[in-house]
Symmetry: C2
Subunit: 422 residues, 2 copies
Amino acid sequence: MMIDMVEMGRTARQASRELVKLTTAQKNKALLAIAAELERNAASILVENEGDVAAGREKGLSEALLDRLLLTEPRIASLAADVRRVADLPDPVGMEIMGRVLPNGLRLSKRRIPIGVIGVIYEARPNVTIDIAALCLKTGNAAILRGGSETWRSNLALVGVIQAALEQSLLPLGAVQIIGSPDRRYVAELLQLNRYVDMIIPRGGAGLHKLCKEQSTIPVITGGIGICHIFVDASADLERAVDIVENAKVQRPSVCNALDTVLVHRAAAAAFLPAMAVRLAQSKVELRAAGDALSILQANGHGACVQPAGPDDFDQEWLALILGVKVVDDLDEAIAHIQQHSTEHSDSILTQNWANANRFIAEINSAAVYVNASTRFTDGGQFGLGAEVAVSTEKLHARGPMGLEELTTYKWIGFGDGHIRE
Amino acid sequence: MMIDMVEMGRTARQASRELVKLTTAQKNKALLAIAAELERNAASILVENEGDVAAGREKGLSEALLDRLLLTEPRIASLAADVRRVADLPDPVGMEIMGRVLPNGLRLSKRRIPIGVIGVIYEARPNVTIDIAALCLKTGNAAILRGGSETWRSNLALVGVIQAALEQSLLPLGAVQIIGSPDRRYVAELLQLNRYVDMIIPRGGAGLHKLCKEQSTIPVITGGIGICHIFVDASADLERAVDIVENAKVQRPSVCNALDTVLVHRAAAAAFLPAMAVRLAQSKVELRAAGDALSILQANGHGACVQPAGPDDFDQEWLALILGVKVVDDLDEAIAHIQQHSTEHSDSILTQNWANANRFIAEINSAAVYVNASTRFTDGGQFGLGAEVAVSTEKLHARGPMGLEELTTYKWIGFGDGHIRE
C-alpha cells in the first residue's frame, strides 16, 4: 500500500484547525466515547493482537517482549480506564498564563493553545497508541502515530476504534491517524513534513533519537534515555544511602530513571561499598567497579558479583541489574564525571553537607536533580502532572516529565480600542 | 585562517559551566565592564567600522545598508547605554516557577537555569553583536556569534572589547566567541555541533531560516518573518480602521510586524477602501489589489497607486510601502486566507462584533493576535519584556517576542530526606 504522507499531513493540519474550536466538554465527550468503543470492541482488538503475538513468537521475540505487546480483556479495560482518567484531568488549553494592561491601555495576555499537529514514533507496546491519542485529543492536538512493526495489527485495530469514536462525536477523523505501513521510508517522510507537523516525539532507543535529530526539519523532543548517577558524599547517611541506591537500581531496572552509576566519596568508600554490595547481592545486581572501588569490593570478599569496569561502562544506560561503581576524591570529581557521562536525565547527591548539595544542584544540569532521594521519582505521576507524554532531556520547550501542559504552546492576545503604535 | 569549530564548541560548553555558577551581581559587574570598555575603545572600534563601511561602499551597498552598518561615537555611547540597561533588568535565572511538597514529603521545585550555549547567526548591523552578547551573559549563557560579512571588522573589534571586559571581570573568554571568518562552511559546522550548542537563533531572511531548519541538528528558533494581516470586519469603526492600517503599514515598513495584507469585509469595502487609499497615498503606499478590491479602488479614481495583485502578492513580506488588498465575503474567508498565507507572526481583526473577535482570536494561530489594534505592537519593548532577543514564530519553547526569560530553561529539583519510591 502506498501512503501519501503529504496528504496525511494536510489532513492532520485541517483536523487541528477543527480541534482548536472545541470546548473542553466536547473533547471529554469524545474521550469517553473512545473508552466505550474500546470496551465494546475488545473481542476484535484481541483477535488482531493475537495475530501480532503469533507473528512475534515466530520471529523469536523474548517472552518479556511478547508480554509487552500482549493485550487481554483486563488490559483493555485498564486502557479504557486510563482514557477516562485523561477526560477527568483539567484542560490546560485556554488557560491565561499572563495578563496585564499595558501603559497605553492595550490589554495583553498569553493564552495556552494546542501545539497543532504532533508526530509520535514509538516502539512495541500498543497501549502507547491509546495513551498518546488521548493526551493529544485532550489538548486539542492532531496526532500522526507510527508504532512499532511488532504491534502492527493491534495498532490498526486500536486506531480504527478511536476513529469510530471520533465519528460518533462528530470530530474530524484526521485528529488521530496512524501510518499504516511498517516501511521505514514513511518515517523519513514524516520527519520532513514541517509544513504540517509541529512537533516530533520519538519514544524509543538512541538510534531512533539520532535519526530524528539528524533528519527532521520539525522540532524534536528527545528523552527517555537516562544514564543516571547517585553521588554518595563523605557526609552521607550511609544506611539511607544503601536504601536509596538499592531503590534506584533495583525497584524497576528497565526504566530510564533507574540508576546506572554510583559515585562514592573516598572518605565514605570503605564503609559504604561493602554494605551496598551486600544489599545489592540480594537482588543479584552485577557491579562494574573501577580502580579503587574494585579493590575495596574485592578485598571485602564481594568479588562474586563484581567485575572490573570496561572502558564504556560509565556510558551505559544499563536497563538491567548492572551498576557502575567508582570512587571519587571529592565533589569536583563527582560533578566532572557526571558532566562527562550523564544524559542530563536524573542525578542525585546523598549528603548532609548543605553547601555540597547546593553546588550539586547548581552545577549538575540534568532535567531532574535530587538531594537525598532516589532518581526513580522523575515521572509524571510522581511529580503530580496527572499524565506523562514523555520524559524530555531537551533544553527547549520542556524538560523532564511532560504532562498535558507540555503539549500546549501559547499565543499573545492584544485587545485594543483603536490602538496604534506611537 | 582555519577555525576549529569543535574546539570553539567545547570552549563555549566549558564557559557555560562557569557562567552557571555566577551570581547576578557578578554578571552585572561584567556587563558594566563591557559598557565601560566600549566607551574606552570607541576610537579603535570606529577605525575598524570605517574599514567595513569603505568595503561596503566599494561593493555597492545601498546608502540605507551602509547606514545600518555605520557606527559613530553617539551610536557607541547608545550601545553602552543598552548594555547598562540589560544590567538593570531582573535576572530570570534562579527564579523558582513552581514549588510544592509532594504527598510523600519530597520537596519539588522547578528552577529557571541558563540554556547553556546559544549560537546566533545574523546579518549586517554590528549592534546585534553587543545586544546578543549582553543578553546571553545576563542569563548565564555562552554565545557563539556569526555576524554578516559586511560588518566583519566591526564585529571582531566589538568582541575583542567584550573579551577584554570578561578578562577584567575574571569571567571565561569562552562566554562570548565569534566565528572569525566569513566562510559559510563554518555556519554548516556550527549547525552540527549539537553536542556543545543547545539552541540556534538565526536572524535574517527566509533563506537563512530554511538552511538552519534543514541542516541543524540543534533546535532552531526561527522567526522575525511576518506576513501580517489586518481584517476589517463589516462592523469595524472605519475611521479608526484607516488609522490602524496606516500605522501598521507606514510607521516602520521595514520591520517584521509591519502590515502586508489588508482584508476587507464586502459590506465595508465600498466605504473603507477609498478612504484607506486616500490616506495611504499620502505616504505613497502602492496597493496590490485583487478582483473586487481593484474594481472599487479604480472606480473611485485611486488608480494611480493601485495595481492588480500578482499571483504571489499575498505571500510576500513586503518590508516596503506596498500593501496587498483583498475583499472577502465573511469572517470564514478572512480566516481561511490568513491560515493559508500568514507566517503566524501578527494578525489583527478590526470589529465591533464580539463573537467575531473571539472566533478570530481562537482560530488564527499566530504568535500575536490582535483585536482593534495595530500589528506593530509585537515587540519585546512594547510588551514590557525589557529586552528582545528575537521574535519567534516557532510553536515550541517561545512564541512572539523573546525576552530574557526565553533564554532560560528549567530543571526540576527534588529535596528529600532519604526518599525512595514505593
